[in-house]
Symmetry: C2
DNA sequence: TTTTAACCTGACCAAACGGTCAAGATAAAT
DNA sequence: ATTTATCTTGACCGTTTGGTCAGGTTAAAA
């Protein structure tokens, strides 16, 4: 499988298309691309790569189907482009996991930023879930390099905390999987939570409470409470 | 949306088909149905309802496509039948959450049985994930009745524990969502965990360690450690 | 103003889709 | 032995799929 990201943003965005345009033309292109990308993210998030159709993406984007193929040659190219965006956002959340501060502060910050990401961009999380459930066909290289390197380095940091007696001797991988799972659950299983919440989406207050509960349980659970 | 389960197991299993057969014919039917169901669970788990194709199910089951439609009239009927099985298994795990014992024992037992279910039947969990991510189109009634009733009753039990000072004052819903998310993550995101584990599925020993870590973090996290 | 390059889209295509059916094969009931 | 009911499946059907393309429109460049 080819790598998810093997070209610069600019190259992949305008694959085989002009780079320099007049202001008006450029604006048209940008607006149409954004509209199609937003629609595709929704439809892919609902049905996954195989289940989504270009016709439905076009309908949601409110453009003719042929226009979708004008801006993004193939369904796969469109999917890859969106996966890049999702990965970029994930990396932003990952960056909050620095190691310049107190373990409790670091973990809290990371959990909170992942919860916020689930709240702000649930479709990205759901799309990622589809991708992994299906076997990470498009993104296994990205996971085994970028994400794994990041994860392994955090695991080293945490083993340091454990050795220094700052944290309980829990397996860092298990802890990280728990953080991934719990934070993303609020996006991926948002519909289920909504049903449990009497068919109403969580209010901002409810979500804030959930976030605080997640932080508290995990921090205390690893001896940082 | 029609209810997921509106007929007895026997009725839906042999929908419009004979109930009494000679031993040989009955054996043939049972074997073919099992083969098709097993194949369908895999394919639906990979691609979801819309993304899965009856041709692929037939290929995995090693029967002609027409035979799939002979035993299960439509793709939807086949999907519903498998969802029923998944729900039945979930109910078994749910049953381990009794309230006749110590809170720590109860929670440990429930978490462990959910982890074991993820290990033993990952496809069922992945299929459920597809169903919810997509918006619970087929199962919203089941969730809002059977599952919600079960969940709410456990929440009441936990609020009792909190009032009696046996457990920290965490929001029970947040705790349950964390248990759902973390335990199911080992099935739904199994491929990702595999990649992090140097492209090797977790060994029995690794999984047992993960299970123990999950139990320990959660129990301590809610003051039951 | 003319030319050129980009944008737009209805109509179309081959392949894949869920589902049907007639006709043959097999086994149970008579 | 004959009838009856079930199992089996290649061939087929109408629809949907991802993708193409000719020919038109629009705006930037010359």
């Amino acid at each position: 499988m080819t790598p998810l990201k093997n070209a610069s943003k600019q190259d992949s965005k305008n694959a085989g298309k002009p780079a320099q345009n007049g202001a008006h033309k450029a604006a048209i292109r940008q607006e149409n691309e954004e509209q199609i990308l937003a629609a595709a993210e929704k439809v892919f998030a609902d049905y996954g790569f195989k289940g989504a159709t270009t016709a439905q993406i076009a309908e949601v984007a409110n453009v003719p189907k042929a226009n979708v193929h004008y801006y993004f040659n193939t369904k796969e190219a469109l999917y890859r482009r969106i996966m890049e965006d999702v990965c970029d956002h994930w990396l932003e959340a990952a960056a909050t996991f620095d190691n310049s501060a107190d373990p409790a502060v670091i973990l809290r910050g990371y959990i909170e930023s992942k919860m916020d990401l689930s709240r702000a961009r649930p479709d990205g999380s759901r799309l990622w879930a589809h991708e992994i459930i299906r076997g990470a066909k498009f993104s296994s290289e990205y996971i085994s390099t970028t994400v794994k390197d990041w994860l392994d380095s955090r695991v080293v940091v945490m083993r340091g905390w454990i050795k220094e007696g700052k944290m309980d001797a829990v397996e860092p991988y298990s802890l990280m999987y728990m953080i991934f799972a719990t934070t993303q659950h609020y996006a991926d299983f948002g519909r289920q939570i909504e049903i449990f919440n009497n068919d109403q989406a969580l209010s901002d207050a409810q979500f804030a409470e959930a976030k605080e509960n997640v932080v508290r349980i995990i921090l205390k659970g690893v001896g940082l409470g």
